[in-house]
């Protein structure tokens, strides 16, 4: 059984988990549900003491210590793992506690065959009554996999091998860290089945951000928000009467997914896209796409990842050369005063582009004022060859402050002098918006403006965008995969579909298998943001 008492975990000055109290009895499975990046995986590693760091109490200068530190108690299989010696831990690992982690591409030693992996664990725990073949048979794994290296296994197979390896010594406690996160539904089902193997004899903690999985597999669910457990309960309780707003947001499926109200202003078209097609090499991305955008209107383009949304945004913004089709702008978007330098590309200057990753779109060593001053100079064609734009003259300063006010950012001197790399994600995205506004745009093209932001920041940005739309009558072309965002902003929606299955699947040569159904995962994406980019070894 597992019992956590007042467990806190922090890295550097940032607290990841605070006062976690949990207890899981043998035969029970507890789901720890929470957004990505909240320290759940660190908790899993901490319970096996695989985290490089030290207990807080031995730490004099907390702030100076950059690694992990923790406090509290975690009793796993009768031992407080937080204060256990190295020798004790070595004995506990594998024997008493098992861990199954989320990263599948790299979960097994690339240099060893499956047989070597199994044999290693058998030898380590002195299990003699079972052969590797029997192990594989038990876990529904084809015996020919035994001679392969991990690179030649599919994600589902790797996950099952991992489970088999963890369950072989019959641990009393098992921690599952997002075991199905990277799997397709068929493999998810197989994995869930494998997990159920002998579960009556052990206590399990399932760490996940997928409420569906938590609801279907677990006996109890603990909802984690900002490092604290906000609610615990059985799946049924939580599904029917969630107490905490966060858990409600997380667990309850959004009911109304109907398109937004058709209160669209009927202005003239500012942008008309006609028969647009685009492909990268032999891979078609867009085919015969046509739509139009009216003045003061927000058009949301929805669709799963990889369906060409971002390409569309870049094409419309003129950042990528047009291959076939037409993008037509109305006269209103032409620059009011003649620019001394013609804009590159077919599009006019008076559009603003807001990108998915605000920090990538900003120059890290520029201050807020410099960023805006540069954009202002560029839009006016005043930028000299090598001179850095000045921002101390009153006209520039006023323009900068106006733009910042428009996106609800402060205009005080310290903020103006802050480097963009020190801004939070929401601030940075709003700064991008402010920069876009300086061009006095008729149209703003926003490419996934909220997807890399946390919920608060996303809300701020959405609010800013809708303000802009209403007050400044700016047309917005919103590219998003989140229906919630589209719903909040858009007057019209357009959904793109993938033209052909994506050639790059998550594992080399592994089963590319079933196409992921878009709807449920899209809903998650709206809350969780994109899954962190998988670390691929170069």
């Amino acid at each position: 059984m597992i019992e956590l008492r007042n467990l806190s975990l922090s890295v550097g000055d940032t607290a990841l988990l605070q006062d976690i109290n949990l207890s899981v009895a043998t035969g029970e499975t507890l789901a720890l549900l929470g957004p990505s990046g909240a320290g759940k995986s660190s908790l899993a590693r901490l319970l096996l003491r695989l985290l490089e760091g030290q207990p807080s109490r031995t730490l004099r200068h907390k702030a100076r210590h950059r690694g992990f530190h923790w406090s509290g108690q975690a009793i796993v299989a009768g031992t407080d793992v937080l204060s256990a010696s190295v020798g004790q831990m070595r004995h506990l690992r594998g024997n008493q506690i098992g861990l199954i982690t989320q990263s599948l591409s790299d979960a097994l030693n690339p240099q060893l065959t499956m047989r070597a992996h199994v044999a290693e664990v058998l030898a380590l725990h002195q299990i003699t009554d079972i052969t590797p073949e029997q192990v594989f048979a038990t876990f529904n794994l084809p015996p020919e996999l035994l001679e392969r290296r991990p690179a030649y296994l599919s994600g589902g197979e790797v996950q099952r091998v991992l489970i088999a390896l963890s369950l072989l010594p019959k641990p009393k406690c098992l921690i599952l860290d997002e075991p199905t996160a990277a799997l397709d539904p068929a493999n998810q089902a197989l994995t869930v089945k494998a997990m159920a193997h002998g579960r009556a004899q052990r206590a399990q903690i399932l760490i996940t951000h997928d409420p569906a999985l938590a609801l279907s597999v677990c006996d109890h669910i603990a909802v984690l928000d900002q490092g604290r457990i906000v609610e615990t309960g059985t799946p049924r309780d939580l599904q029917q009467q969630p107490q905490h707003p966060k858990s409600r947001a997380m667990i309850q499926q959004p009911r109304d997914t109907a398109p937004g109200t058709a209160a669209a202003p009927s202005g003239p078209d500012v942008l008309r896209v006609h028969q647009l097609s685009h492909s990268y090499g032999a891979r078609p991305v867009l085919r015969n796409l046509s739509f139009s955008l009216r003045a003061g209107e927000c058009l949301a383009v929805l669709g799963p990842s990889g369906c060409g949304k971002s390409t569309l945004a870049r094409l419309v913004a003129g950042m990528e050369p047009l291959q076939s089709g037409q993008i037509l702008w109305s006269e209103a978007t032409r620059p009011a005063r003649p620019s001394p330098r013609p804009c590159p590309g077919p599009c006019p200057c008076q559009i603003g582009y807001v990108s998915q990753f605000p920090h990538r779109a900003l120059t890290a060593h520029f201050s807020v004022a410099q960023t805006l001053a540069e954009a202002l100079s560029l839009s006016q064609g005043r930028l000299r060859w090598l001179l850095r734009p000045r921002h101390s003259d009153p006209a520039t300063l006023t323009a900068i402050c106006n733009a910042l006010t428009a996106v609800s950012l402060p205009t005080d001197a310290p903020f103006l002098a802050r480097l963009t790399r020190d801004l939070s994600g929401g601030e940075a995205q709003r700064l991008c918006l402010a920069r876009a506004l300086l061009v006095q745009p008729q149209v703003i093209i926003a490419d996934e403006p909220t997807s890399s932001l946390d919920q608060c920041a996303a809300a701020e940005v959405i609010k800013t965008l809708s303000d802009l739309k209403q007050r400044a009558a700016i047309s917005i072309l919103l590219i998003t995969h989140a229906p919630a965002v589209a719903q909040a902003l858009a007057d019209q929606q357009l959904t793109l579909r993938q033209i052909s299955p994506p050639p790059a699947a998550m594992l080399r040569r592994a089963d590319q298998g079933a196409n992921v159904e878009p709807t449920p995962s899209l809903i998650h994406a709206a809350f969780m943001g994109d899954r962190p980019v998988r670390r691929e070894r170069s």
Partner: protein
């Protein structure tokens, strides 16, 4: 809206490290220029192989020159040689990396192949060959070493340049009409400065080692006084007590300088990592 008149704390503080570095380089250059006048003459005398004394603090060498004077005179030469060699190598490397980035496909392949080939040339053989031909003086050493080491920098600089140029901020600014020179000066160079500094420091370490090695083998011009050539002078006296004042001072100087460089390099790396870590 109130009209704030923010005074923005400016460049000096932000680029303190760079400014300090520049300052150090200027001072060093001045010192090198003035060292001849400032330092006592490095003359021969009949006090040969004297142990350290009040008159000669670090003793004298086999032709009666004061080791301390020699050390002081060799310092700007050794350090200057290393810094300049490293700078030239970095410049060539950066140019090649830049070419590999901007050239179209064919040209890029040529540049990269050239780098590959430079990488596999066994540089010591080339050095021996050239040294047999002509013992290089200061200018030749700088040129030779730079030509033999620039390839180390190309790959890393190229990847950094590619990363920076491919970044959205550059693309956006370019789209808004910024010129390449402007982008290079204000967006790209400051962004790759930490990498450049790191590469430069490692170049310096390499240059110190190589120049000292060449001088130690006695393959540099005879009148070029460096720590390496002082070590070379000491080799004949290992069997006499004179090694204590002939060998140790230049060896310690060399080691100390390298230690300072590696420490700087490590700090710089840690700094860069921290900054990267703070802003994913």
């Amino acid at each position: 809206m109130s009209a704030p008149t923010p005074r923005i704390p400016q460049t000096i503080t932000r680029y303190r490290r760079q400014v300090l570095g520049l300052f150090a380089v200027v001072i060093l250059t001045l010192l090198i220029a003035a060292s001849d006048a400032l330092l006592p003459a490095y003359v021969t005398s009949t006090d040969t192989l004297q142990p350290p004394s009040a008159r000669h603090w670090l003793g004298t060498n086999d032709i009666g020159q004061s080791v301390l004077t020699g050390l002081l005179r060799a310092t700007p030469v050794t350090v200057g040689l290393a810094l300049l060699t490293a700078a030239l190598a970095l410049l060539i490397g950066l140019t090649m990396a830049g070419l590999a980035v901007v050239f179209p496909k064919k040209g890029r392949a040529v540049v990269l192949h050239l780098t590959d080939m430079a990488e596999i040339v066994p540089s010591i053989l080339l050095l021996l060959l050239v040294a047999a031909w002509h013992q290089p003086g200061a200018a030749e050493i700088i040129l030779l070493m730079a030509v033999l080491t620039w390839h180390d920098d190309v790959r890393i600089l190229r990847s950094v340049l590619l990363r920076e140029i491919g970044r959205e901020n550059i693309r956006l600014a370019r789209h808004m009409g910024a010129s390449w020179p402007y982008l290079l000066l204000h967006h790209i160079l400051p962004a790759i400065l930490p990498t450049l500094t790191g590469v430069y420091l490692q170049n310096v370490v390499q240059a110190v080692m190589r120049v000292a090695g060449l001088a130690f083998l006695g393959l540099t011009a005879g009148d070029l006084l460096t720590w390496g050539s002082m070590l070379q002078d000491a080799t004949g006296y290992l069997h006499t007590p004179a090694w204590q004042w002939l060998l140790l001072p230049p060896a310690l100087c060399l080691t100390g300088f390298l230690l300072v460089l590696t420490t700087l390099d490590q700090r710089q790396q840690r700094h860069a990592r921290l900054r990267q870590g703070a802003n994913p």
